[in-house]
């Protein structure tokens, strides 16, 4: 096989995997702290808009990225406020944020760029490597850093403890509310980083295309570990890249390649390939002094 094609495939695959990988890392942090975050999709709608808007406003892709991260943090903080402080069902809050973000992206686009479904072109971009957005490379150090933070630091231990058993953590003096806010807000940061890879050239309505949900699948398939989630994201991403690059040579209909991550996630959840167990207290609000 031509070496150029192999290299192109490797790079393109990383570029396609990276947004899913970043978002999956966000899912891991949030869920590890005990907050299920199905709003990843909605947060990414806002951050992908934010990077284009921010870049054009401030004249730099890095400032645009910072702006996207900031918007991601704000939207994630709403999820944290509603679910941690007000103890509302996490799925309901996530659903509401997904609906809100769907409108917000288009509403802002209409008012900032005069068009509801797409923004102006973003003249700023990260350097490219053979056509690949080089920011995708950041996924690897961020994944390793995430693993280190979660597994090797006091902060990570505390974050995991409030997701497993908030009652004991509280008894031991861990601030459950603070840790859960941290977990959810980190997921907002990750969604901001995801925007750094996901077409920063122009925002188009619907361009996140369900990646927030694939990220959830990757998180589950990676068994809630940062490295696992990123590897799962890469599995899905490289399968998708194969579909895009070699569609005519692959005898399988492309729709089945699209289904692949979701089917795999269900199979894993069903326990057919080993046991999959998320953080014990994920999805459950913590109410002090009850039970």
């Amino acid at each position: 096989m031509d070496l150029n094609i192999v290299l192109d495939y490797l790079l393109k695959g990383l570029e396609i995997s990276a947004p899913i990988g970043f978002a999956a890392l966000g899912g891991v942090f949030s869920e590890k702290s005990g907050v299920t975050n199905i709003a990843l999709e909605g947060i990414m709608i806002v951050t992908t808009f934010g990077i284009v808007w921010g870049s054009i406003m401030f004249g730099s892709i890095w400032l645009g990225l910072l702006f996207a991260v900031l918007l991601g943090v704000i939207v994630a903080a709403i999820h944290a406020l509603v679910t941690v402080t007000y103890k509302v069902d996490q799925i309901i809050s996530g659903t509401a944020i997904n609906i809100l973000a769907l409108g917000l992206g288009r509403f802002l686009s209409q008012n900032v760029f005069g068009q509801e479904t797409q923004t102006a072109m973003n003249p700023f971009a990260f350097p490219q490597i053979r056509g690949m957005n080089s920011f995708a490379l950041a996924l690897i150090p961020v994944a390793i850093l995430s693993w280190f933070v979660l597994q090797k630091t006091v902060f990570g231990l505390r974050l995991r403890s409030v997701g497993e058993n908030p009652e004991s953590a509280d008894t031991l003096g861990v601030n459950v509310t603070l840790m859960r806010y941290a977990g959810v807000i980190i997921s907002g940061v990750m969604c901001g980083l995801a925007a750094g890879v996901l077409y920063p050239s122009r925002w188009v309505s619907g361009m996140t295309g369900g990646r927030g949900f694939i990220a959830l699948a990757a998180m589950i398939f990676g068994r809630w570990s940062p490295i696992g989630a990123v590897l799962a994201a890469m599995l899905f991403g490289y399968a998708d890249t194969a579909r895009i690059m070699f569609e005519s040579q692959i005898p399988i209909p492309s729709q089945f390649v699209q289904m692949f991550p979701y089917v795999l996630a269900v199979v894993v959840l069903a326990g057919f390939v080993g046991k999959a167990r998320g953080p014990a207290a994920a999805g459950r609000p913590y109410v002090k002094g009850e039970d």
Binding site: S93, G103, R106, Y262
Partner: protein, 363 residues
């Protein structure tokens, strides 16, 4: 029982406050965008209640919204979060369409058969998440999200491949046309006879009858039959229900499948009355709408009637703003999201307040 009714007024407060707050926010956005609020109100009025035809359009739009809301609400009642309504709706609509295309039956039989097939399709798509939930204790939210995406891809493949019926004229992938015997006829003439001037372009068709019947049956089962009592008991507390000898898993399985069956009916109007064939392009996002509608309707069949109508109103209001003002249609999604968050947070605060009141009474 008396104590519950005493506080039910508080419970009604949240949706009403939520709606009021969202309208205030809508007007605030209108002002921020630099549009005249009076003009916006006129635009909304024009699109919603300015004529019998507009009002009939609202009723027509609320049919699929009602079914979507009811499907989510019924599952909610049994502590099941069916996010999979979207996928069940796609699969139900496609299954129904298949029966409408490939079966040759007299009309009196064909119509009920396609309705049953649509229900079966939706139910089958709920089956695996339902079995995983009751059999292996796997949370239904993630599995149904995954099943939605699988349904989307599967339907895409089916209408582009094995079930494709494109005859060159249309660009979008679609199936063959439905047999004339399975087409849902309009009831507009009947409404006109009753004095409501419903013009021919509005779709008030057999799907309205289906929605009414399903709504009544659901209400009857929930509040008049033992099965419904058990379902509500499971929704209130699975622990207490288990203790009372209710087969919680069976009840949840039943509720999940019934929810899927109702979801299967959402597409009837679009496929059998409006288009006459199935396409990948049928309305999407109804599953998401259904969750919002169920929440705002407090998971009761009657509440869902009102909130489905409210949603139809909001959607039309959005179009009105889009056409007559500089406020884009998408503002409605923003408002909907804000409204849900507002309602659920208010609910929690009110529940806290009621707990405090009760504590005071108990002392």
């Amino acid at each position: 029982m008396k104590r519950i009714s005493k506080y039910s007024l508080y419970e009604l407060a949240a949706p009403l406050l939520g709606f009021a707050a969202s309208m205030v926010i809508l007007l605030a956005i209108v002002v921020v965008v630099g549009e005249n609020p009076g003009k916006a109100v006129t635009a909304i009025w024009k699109m919603t209640f300015s004529s019998p035809a507009r009002a009939a359009t609202l009723l027509s739009m609320s049919i699929p919204l009602f079914l979507a809301g009811l499907a989510v609400a019924l599952a909610f009642r049994a502590s099941i979060f069916n996010i999979g309504v979207e996928g069940q709706y796609f699969m139900g609509a496609l299954t129904g369409a298949m029966a409408g295309i490939y079966l040759h039956l007299p009309a009196w039989l064909h119509i009920p058969v396609v309705v049953i097939c649509a229900m079966a399709g939706g139910m089958l798509w709920a089956l695996v998440p339902a079995l995983l939930k009751v059999g292996r204790g796997i949370h239904e939210v993630i599995t149904t999200i995954m099943f939605n995406s699988i349904a989307l891809a599967l339907v895409n493949w089916l209408v582009n491949g094995p079930l494709s019926g494109v005859e060159g004229a249309s660009l979008e992938a679609q199936t063959k046309h439905i047999q004339p015997t399975a087409v849902f006829q309009k009831l507009n003439a009947g409404f006109r006879a009753l004095g409501w001037d419903v013009p021919d372009f509005v779709y008030l068709d057999y799907s309205l009858i289906v929605a009414v019947v399903i709504g009544l049956v659901t209400w009857f089962v929930l509040f008049r039959l033992r099965a419904g009592f058990e379902l509500r008991a499971v929704g209130t507390s699975t622990d207490v229900s288990l203790y009372a000898g209710i087969k919680v898993k069976q009840v949840q399985l039943g509720a999940f499948l019934a929810s899927g069956a109702i979801a299967g009916l959402i597409g009837l109007q679009e496929v059998f009355a409006i288009r006459g064939f199935y396409t990948y392009e049928i309305a999407s996002g109804l599953g998401l709408d259904g969750i919002a509608i169920a929440l705002i309707g407090r998971n009761s069949p009657l509440g869902v009637v009102f909130s489905a109508f409210l949603f139809a109103f909001l959607k039309q209001a959005g179009y009105g703003l889009q056409i007559y003002t500089r406020v884009p249609n998408s503002v409605i999604y923003v408002i909907t999201g804000v409204m849900i968050l507002f309602i659920v947070v208010t609910n929690e605060l009110i529940a806290k307040y009621i707990r405090a009141l009760r504590k005071k009474e108990a002392v």
